[in-house]
Symmetry: C2
Subunit: 105 residues, 2 copies
Amino acid sequence: MRDEAALFAALGDDTRLGLVARLGEGPSSIAGLTRGGDLTRQAVTKHLYVLERAGLVSCARLGRESLWELRRQRLEEARAFLDVMSQRWDDRLERLRVYVEDHKP
Amino acid sequence: MRDEAALFAALGDDTRLGLVARLGEGPSSIAGLTRGGDLTRQAVTKHLYVLERAGLVSCARLGRESLWELRRQRLEEARAFLDVMSQRWDDRLERLRVYVEDHKP
DNA sequence: TAAATACGCAACTCTTTGGTTGCCTTTTCG
DNA sequence: CGAAAAGGCAACCAAAGAGTTGCGTATTTA
């Protein structure tokens, strides 16, 4: 899977998007992220691993708990990709011209 | 599924991301999108429906072919979401301060 | 030291999903 | 008109994913 797709796939889940949002407030442990929600600790852990594989979060063990934090750089990369796609779509008239050109009889 | 998650989920697939990229160059028919790739027409169709449900593309029937095009607005929404997440993560020191504050003995 | 807390690992279930094949309708064009 | 091109619909399959339970290991803390 290409890099950006993995990134978006990691973000494309309610639970994980919620975790990203919570980690956006600051680092947290697994137990901390589990509290309040209606998920199992293991479910949360799995989602964190998915986010980690996508490069969106990182983990540091601190005593008996592991602190997870968001990696801002990766979010920027996703944003940059959307920028390119969006800009390419910028000039609608130009696109239309090209399209009509290509379909001339 | 919340709106943004569906958006990212739609983008979180190699094939679909490829389709988005190709549609970024301009509108295209299903047969056009199928040509060149190694996918079945039906596979392409299914992916287009996924993108459509996410609001990323729209379709207009033209004669015997259906022209699909990218919806720029939706890309912007995804980008805006990432902006918020990223900005929230902006001040690392402030976050650290809050975290230490919360964990005071 | 013993209980409680935080976490890792593994097996299992159930649903989603990416992809296929087969067949049928509509439109274009020689 | 008749063949070919574009596409819709439905059934089917294999793999991935989300979530759970159960059990074992470290680390605090009373």
